[in-house]
Amino acid sequence: MEKKKLVIGVIGADVHAVGNKILYHAFTDAGFEVINLGVMVSQEEYIEAAIESAADAIIVSSLYGHGELDCRGFRDRCNEAGLKDILLYVGGNIVVGKQPFEEVEQRFLEMGFSRVYPAGTSPETAIEDLRKDLRIE
């Protein structure tokens, strides 16, 4: 079967590079084809990469606390660009400080993200979810 394709990167002006490299290896080892855009990735860059490569999911990382601002309007832009049903995951340290995760999750779900992860989520959790969402046996 053809490999499912993921576009990954760290959004906004965020330069935390270590987690991104770990995710790249984890997803690649799990059998995905991974297009890694690295750090400081704009919404536009994720979307363009996903269009050109016909990706199945976009995995957004945000570590520095401005995730909510950076992710605003992401789903709308995907829709506008014709990426109608693309999976959109977000994780890392997506907001500043200690806010109840359920509220944070709710806000990101309303923004159109398919799945939202609290700090400290391991890549394996996301991999399992991807297998479910993309119906990989």
């Binding site: 053809e2 394709k5 002006a13 965020d14 330069v15 084809e33 297009i35 690295g38 750090v39 400081m40 860059e45 363009e48 990469a49 269009i51 050109e52 490569s53 016909a54 990706a55 520095y64």
Partner: protein, 460 residues
């Protein structure tokens, strides 16, 4: 003596260059008007007669030619995302020496197909999708192109997963399949497309451009002139197995209608904490500014930099500049015979060089994060490039050439533009770069030593 003749069928001049291979020397050059309307052979004969008068030579062991006559190699390209496959297709075409008439992205519509029919390109480059990526766009575009009223070959260089299907859709047209220009987002793959473009140029476009009779007299390579210039620059930068080159270089070719800029450089970041954005850059890169030129595109220069800037550079009043530019565009033969015209020409040339070089070079943006500065680079960082070459009729005959081309260098008032900071300036006074590019294919050592000798250092 072993004499070789190098011919450049230009849009206005046909230029011949004679080289002595044994002695490794330039013998002489001559030129005459190109005669596309009648038969390009006529212009060539005039030029050869001149050369014979100057040197007594009429027999050559070989004749090699390049051409930009009859509009050059005119191409149209299409891709999917403007910044990705469409850009890759454009970069590939320019690097093959083409004149890129138009680049489309996303799905072609009826109006586009009509426009393409009117343009009547020599080649259409159809791309879109990385390998295994998007198929819808290129399949749709193939379906649109198949009924385009004009006759032109289509070069297919998109997503390989649907290449066969595209070929089938286009089967009633002349279509060639080659490797994807952008197989992965991190990997630009322009050489296979460029080889195909040169092949097509050789096999058919030469006929269409009325050069076939000449082709019989010519023993070897025929290629588009800019491709020959690019070859020369690459050799000059890299050197040969036995002789070193000059290292990374930057070059500006200022013409009457367009301005070409070349860089032979990796363009890797020179600052720490730099994040690179955008497509990977080809080491040998050519860009063309169709709106920037000394005569036919003089108004384009004014639009690009503004009257204020031209006034500042020339010392002329804005109103006067407007009048003079109008006159210049209508009379492209205008010579800088008056102090005012000289002043305007200086300003136009400096502004053209400034604009075209800035568009070619990369850009760096400073972003402040709580931990301090970080840099975002798109395009090539050329700040450490140490050689700048000036070529093109509008520069090489100008007395102020070194002053003009310093405008291609780094400018403190636009620090984001990553142009060379301290370069020596070499001028192609004899206008031999295209000839040396042709020569370099078989005689790289001779071509390199002639260029090293003939390019004149005019650094201030």
């Amino acid at each position: 003596m072993q004499a070789i003749l190098l011919i450049d069928f230009g849009s206005t001049f046909t230029k011949v260059t004679a080289v002595d291979i044994e002695a490794g020397q330039l013998i002489d050059t001559a030129s005459s008007y190109t005669t596309v309307e009648t038969d390009v052979g006529e212009g060539l004969e005039f030029a050869l007669a001149k050369l014979k008068k100057q040197t007594g030579l009429e027999n050559f062991q070989k004749r090699l030619a390049c051409s930009s006559a009859a509009g050059g190699l005119r191409m149209v390209a299409s891709g999917l995302v403007p910044a990705l496959t469409a850009e890759a297709a454009k970069v590939a075409s320019l690097g093959a020496g083409a004149k890129v008439m138009k680049v489309y992205s996303y799905q072609l519509i009826d109006e586009d197909i009509e426009e393409i029919a009117n343009i009547k390109p020599d080649i259409f480059l159809l791309t879109g999708g990385t390998d295994g990526g998007n198929q819808d766009c290129i399949l749709h575009n193939a379906g649109m192109l198949v009924d385009c009223k004009a006759d032109f070959p289509i070069l297919l260089a998109g997503n390989r997963s649907c290449a066969a299907e595209c070929e089938k859709i286009l089967s009633k047209r002349e279509v060639y399949r080659c490797e994807n220009v952008l197989p992965q987002l991190e990997k630009l793959n322009i050489e296979p497309v460029q080889r195909h473009i040169r092949d097509l140029f050789l096999r058919q476009i030469i006929n269409a451009k009325g050069l076939s009779r000449e082709a019989e007299l010519i023993s070897g390579i025929m290629m588009p002139t800019p491709a020959a210039v690019l070859q020369a620059m690459e050799l000059l930068a890299k050197g040969t197995d036995s002789r070193p080159g000059l290292g990374e270089l930057f070059a500006v070719d200022l013409g009457g209608a367009t301005t070409d800029v070349y860089s032979m450089a990796s363009g890797a970041p020179t600052l720490e904490n730099t994040v690179i954005k955008g497509l990977p850059e080809p080491w040998a890169k050519r860009t063309v500014e169709g709106d920037i030129g000394m005569r036919y595109s003089a108004a384009g220069i004014s639009t690009a930099v503004g009257l204020e800037r031209l006034s500042q550079l020339s010392g002329l009043k804005p109103q006067k500049i407007v009048e003079m530019i109008k006159h210049t565009e209508q009379n492209p033969d205008t010579m800088p015979n008056t102090p005012e015209q000289s002043a305007l020409d200086f300003a136009l040339a400096a502004a053209a060089v400034e604009t075209a070089s800035a568009r070619h070079a990369g850009i760096i943006e400073e972003t402040y994060t709580p931990l301090g500065q970080t840099w975002l680079q798109s395009g090539k960082d050329l700040t450490k490039v140490k050689t700048l070459i000036a070529t093109g009729g509008a520069l090489i005959h100008n007395r102020d050439v070194s002053k003009i081309v310093t405008h291609a260098l780094y400018n403190e008032s636009v620090p984001e533009s990553l142009r060379p900071k301290s370069s020596r300036i070499l001028i192609d006074r004899q206008y031999i770069l295209s000839a040396m590019g042709l020569l370099s294919i078989e005689y790289p050592d001779v071509a390199l030593s002639i260029m090293k000798k003939e390019l004149e250092d005019v650094s201030i």
